[in-house]
Amino acid sequence: MSTVLTITGLTLREASRRRVMLALGILTVLLLALSAWGFSRLAAESGGTMTSGEARLTASILLNLVMFGFSLIAALGTAFLTGPTLAGETESGIALTVLARPVRRSAFLLGKWLGLVTFGGGFVVLAGLAQCLVVWLTVGYWPPNPAGALALLAAQTTVLLTLAVLLSTAISPMASGVVAVGLFGTTWVAGVVGGLGASLGNEAIARIGTLSRIFLPTDGLWRGAMHAFQDPSALMQFGDGDGEAFPFLGAAPLTPAYLVWVAVWVAMLWSLAALSFSRKDL
């Protein structure tokens, strides 16, 4: 276990020393400031013209939109950090001396993964919490289940970086980042298409979204997070069925079965990554 924690610490130190944390911090502050300005303008200019339900709907949609920005930053950041820190170290030779120590490859991989989960999950939770506070201070809206929503966002980051870890054990650092982010984007688009299919009553198209959420659970978790961020009345305000077609509203909370599937999916991909990495010739 001490090896795992040593590698976790090393991964976090790498993120810090390579100024990844600083860059993300600056980006986050900029996004928070921009959203604070936007929400305060919204509150000032719509004063008296919107009903309280409309105001909550608008706040919900905007909050989900900004959260999408954060989840995108976290997803892209961790996917592109995973490549250099795992495949990059193997390619450059940095991993040679580390793995020539009495270190199990699975422990090394677990350490790297934990470091990335802490980094990516930590970022999305802190930035998301700050965003909730900004919205509360500017328009007085507080999400119904912020802890659950932030946990789902952290889970979404974990899912994507687990995929990136698996890809990093098999392909080059750059390719692993590109494939992971490509699949993330494709799944999101498939989710939107599936939502349109559902609202139009087309089962075949709706199934695209369902299947993509099983294949790569990032979009499923994102939709669960949106549902936890938005006001419960938002969907009704939006109109029957149409809310499902809208990409920044979650139609329903996640089922326990889906959450179990996500845990199984992560465990399965991590095990495959460990197997692939332990068989890799360095």
Binding site: S2, T3, T6, L10, R13, E14, R17, R18, S92, G93, I94, L96, T97, V98, L99, A100, R101, P102, V103, R104, R279, D281, L282
Partner: protein
């Protein structure tokens, strides 16, 4: 229970590494065909061979970094794939790169942790001083020259009190002073009964420090033995004029290595001291004018080239 099973093997008698029948293929290319070798405690063994002979692959198989297709490697008495086997092993890879975002002291601290060794900060400092990095302890590795990174790699290999050190081209980026330092360090390790496997293209370096040499060629052991065994063949350079056909026939009874103008070089067996006076006496008796007789010894480089060229034919 038999007597043999009850008698423990003397730890000192166990080799630090024993490889038998190692084979590795990458696709259709065979990197290592059949390699068996051993390194004993306190022994310095040189690993020589041309580029692509399979030296680095053999080293990586010893360390469990590459899985052999056939054969096995035992490292400090354990299978090479068992991480515990590497607890007392130091390794400087041919491709040396260390975390550029860490300082030299932090890299050493990381390796001490990973090796689970109890090495004080003072000892780590001394280790960096030993390789000439005493003034750069807190500097980031990213700012180091290649030579300094190789020195750091040497410190990493030595810091966790290893019983066996594997140095893969340890002087490739070093200046002559650095090479001399490495030589001194290797000899110091030997004095502490630490075994060293030294892969180097600098044959003079190997000849100076190694007890034994293993020569690899195309994934096979082309020759192996102590320096005395490998270099046992001596030579004799003769400056002769008036060489008659009878004298030529007499010279042909020896192994003529080279014949350039009036200079003839013949090989002499290591264990026959009488052959030189007999040859000179015979040549003089056959009317040959003998201007010079220079004894010589085949260098490791000449021996290596001889072995590799013979394998090419």
């Amino acid at each position: 229970m038999s007597n043999e099973t009850r008698t423990p093997v003397e730890p000192a008698a166990q080799p630090v590494v024993r490889c038998s029948g190692l084979r590795k293929r990458y696709g259709k290319r065979t990197a290592v065909e059949n390699v068996s070798l051993e390194v004993s405690r306190g022994e310095i063994v040189g690993l020589l061979g041309p580029n692509g002979a399979g030296k680095t692959t053999v080293i990586k198989m010893m360390l469990g970094l590459v899985t052999p297709d056939a054969g096995e490697a035992l490292l400090l008495g354990r299978p090479a794939g068992d991480p515990a086997a590497r607890a007392r092993v130091g390794y400087l890879p041919e491709l040396f790169r260390y975390q550029p975002w860490l300082s030299a002291a932090e890299v050493l601290s990381l390796h001490v942790k990973l090796a689970r060794a109890d090495v004080s900060a003072q000892e780590r400092q001394e280790c960096l001083e030993l390789v000439g990095l005493g003034q750069r302890v807190r500097d980031r590795v990213g700012g180091f020259s290649k030579g300094m990174q190789q020195r750091l790699g040497l410190a990493v290999a030595l810091v966790a009190r290893p019983e066996f050190v594997i140095l893969d081209e340890p002087t490739s980026a070093l200046d002559p002073l650095g090479r001399a330092d490495v030589r001194d360090i290797v000899l110091e390790l030997k004095s502490r009964q630490v075994a060293v496997l030294l892969n180097s293209h600098l044959i003079g370096e190997v000849e100076r420090v190694c007890d034994r040499v293993v020569i690899l060629d195309r994934g096979n052991v082309a020759a192996a033995g102590s320096l005395a065994e490998l270099l046992g063949q001596r030579e004799l350079r003769l400056h002769l004029t008036g060489v008659t056909p009878a004298a030529t026939a007499r010279l042909a009874e020896t192994t003529v290595l080279d014949h350039t103008g009036d200079w003839i070089t013949v090989a002499l067996p290591a264990d026959d001291d009488a052959i030189v006076p007999a040859l000179i006496s015979d040549l003089a008796g056959l009317g040959v004018q003998i201007h010079a007789v220079e004894p010589g010894r085949i260098t490791l480089e000449e021996r290596l080239l001889g072995i590799l060229r013979k394998a090419d034919q």
